[in-house]
């Protein structure tokens, strides 16, 4: 991670980058993908979308705690949030297997209460992806929450708004660009996630095989190079578009004045 994603967006040629990523996508789309490859691409998009959206409320909550609250153990929470960034992904995946596998303490509870099964399912791939992207999501949202002027929140409180209403009507709207940037980053990270995913839910075509794990399979096959190239181009275009979108949004957030 080179600095926070909300800064340094100055001489970024948004349109140029967008056109470049569209060209790559055109090359990718002109290719004939096999059924299995299409399945992997579709599954990747599904997993990344669900991971980004389902992880977002947790990301907002943790970012808010870190940005606005003082409590014992805050440093520990911050360290825990950043763990997936520094741990070997295979370790994160294994910990998910222990905790959220069918015999895991959380896995068993979630299956009992909501019929939610993670192990060797696409839902598990989404959980792994959301976990790996979580530090990036929290970081983006936290920075934008910290940039919200607390004096505006005080003003809202004196106008009769309870804490939750202040958060929903003042804090969150003002932090929206960071929340969107976090969403896009979480999505992009999910598209690229490999280590934790393959450890937690393996590499089952049609169920848990994403673009990343599909590429892993094709690289193991001596005749798999064309498939590897096709999938790589798709991965490139998706990741590129996501980062471009995130940078563009960050630049917009910068242009928008904070205090009136």
């Amino acid at each position: 991670m080179e600095g926070p994603p909300l800064r340094g967006a100055a001489p970024f040629h948004f349109m140029g980058a967008l056109v470049a990523s569209w060209r790559i996508a055109q090359v990718a789309l002109a290719m004939e993908l096999t059924q299995a490859e299409w399945t992997a691409v579709g599954l990747s998009l599904k997993v990344a979308t669900v991971a980004a959206l389902a992880g977002l409320p947790f990301g907002v909550a943790v970012a808010w705690l870190l940005a606005r609250r003082d409590f014992p153990g805050k440093g520990i929470l911050n360290a825990l949030v950043h763990m997936p960034l520094v741990l070997p992904p295979v370790v994160t995946g294994w910990l998910l297997l222990i905790g959220f596998g069918r015999e895991g303490i959380f896995g068993r509870a979630l299956e009992a209460c909501c019929g939610l099964v993670f192990s060797f399912r696409w839902t598990g791939a989404a959980l792994a992806a959301a976990t790996m992207g979580f530090p990036l999501v929290v970081r983006a949202i936290r920075l934008s929450l910290e940039a919200v002027d607390p004096r505006l929140e005080q003003a809202a409180a004196t106008l009769g708004a309870p804490g939750w209403r202040v958060f929903l009507t003042v804090t969150l709207p003002l932090a929206a660009p960071g929340v969107i940037a976090g969403l896009v980053l979480g999505f992009a990270k999910s598209i690229g996630e490999f280590g934790a995913t393959i450890t937690f839910v393996a590499n089952i075509p049609g169920e848990t095989q994403t673009i990343a794990t599909a590429i892993y399979t094709t690289t193991q096959d001596p005749n798999g190079t064309p498939a590897t190239i096709r999938l790589t181009l798709i991965a490139l275009s998706i990741a590129f578009a996501a980062i471009v979108a995130s940078e563009g949004l960050a630049a917009r957030a910068k242009r928008r004045g904070q205090a009136a």
């Binding site: 002027d149 505006l152 409180a157 009769g160 708004a161 928008r256």
Partner: protein, 217 residues
């Protein structure tokens, strides 16, 4: 009756106030940096005294002996800060309406259209606060506080940066609220004319110490 009898400390800054004003309108005067704004923040509940009593009339906001400490949003105070603090993501109208209660809850202190006209904000309602002049912003902030149907007003140099004609207009509104609605007010001011025209009592704040309340001259 306005009571601000508190001890407060934050870092190097400490404040000891023993204000018991009999009237409804209290002016806080004194050199800058002595804690006048802090006193308003204590009344609004944005800062917390270590102990003491804060009350306006029958409304007890803070009482360390009886363990009363109302949250800011329950105090129903219209607070006009020194800087406008407008919400940048809302229009002028959105800012004005932010604190407005459900119309079903009863007649508001001042009607929206009437206040907008008196503050001269009619042409600005759809604008974003970023484009307004300093005086315009301050007028929106005053309107926003009055429309929240407050039980008392806290004004921190409300007319600073507002030209005389507009200031006179706002003065008239504040006087109306004082006389017609008997609404209590605490205001910080550097201006002699403001103090003598509005206040029934004056408290002098010096080096974070009280601070005696005396009838306005």
């Amino acid at each position: 009756m306005i009571v601000i009898d508190v001890q407060f400390a934050r870092g190097d800054f400490s404040l000891r106030a023993a204000i018991r004003a009999k009237g409804r309108i209290l002016a806080l005067v004194g050199p800058s940096g002595t804690g006048k704004t802090t006193l308003l923040n204590l009344v609004a509940g944005l800062e917390r005294p270590s102990k003491g009593l804060i009350a306006i009339g029958d409304l007890v906001f803070f009482d360390s002996q009886r363990r009363v400490d109302l949250k800011p949003y329950r105090r129903r105070l219209g607070y006009v800060f020194q800087e406008p603090r407008l919400f940048p993501h809302l229009t002028v109208a959105g800012n004005l309406r932010y604190g407005m209660k459900d119309a079903a809850l009863g007649q508001p202190l001042v009607a929206f259209d009437d206040l907008v006209a008196r503050l001269g904000l009619g042409a600005l309602l759809a604008r974003a606060p970023q484009g307004l002049s300093g005086g315009e912003k301050q007028r929106v902030a005053i309107g926003r506080a009055l429309l929240s149907d407050p039980l008392a007003l806290l004004l921190d140099e409300p007319l600073a940066g507002i030209d005389d004609a507009r200031g006179e207009n706002i003065f008239a509104i504040v006087e109306t609220l004082r006389d017609a609605f008997k609404i209590p007010m605490i205001f910080v001011s550097h201006r002699r004319d403001e103090v003598s025209r509005l206040a029934s009592e004056v408290a002098l704040v010096e080096r974070g110490r009280l601070i005696e309340a005396a009838p306005a001259a």
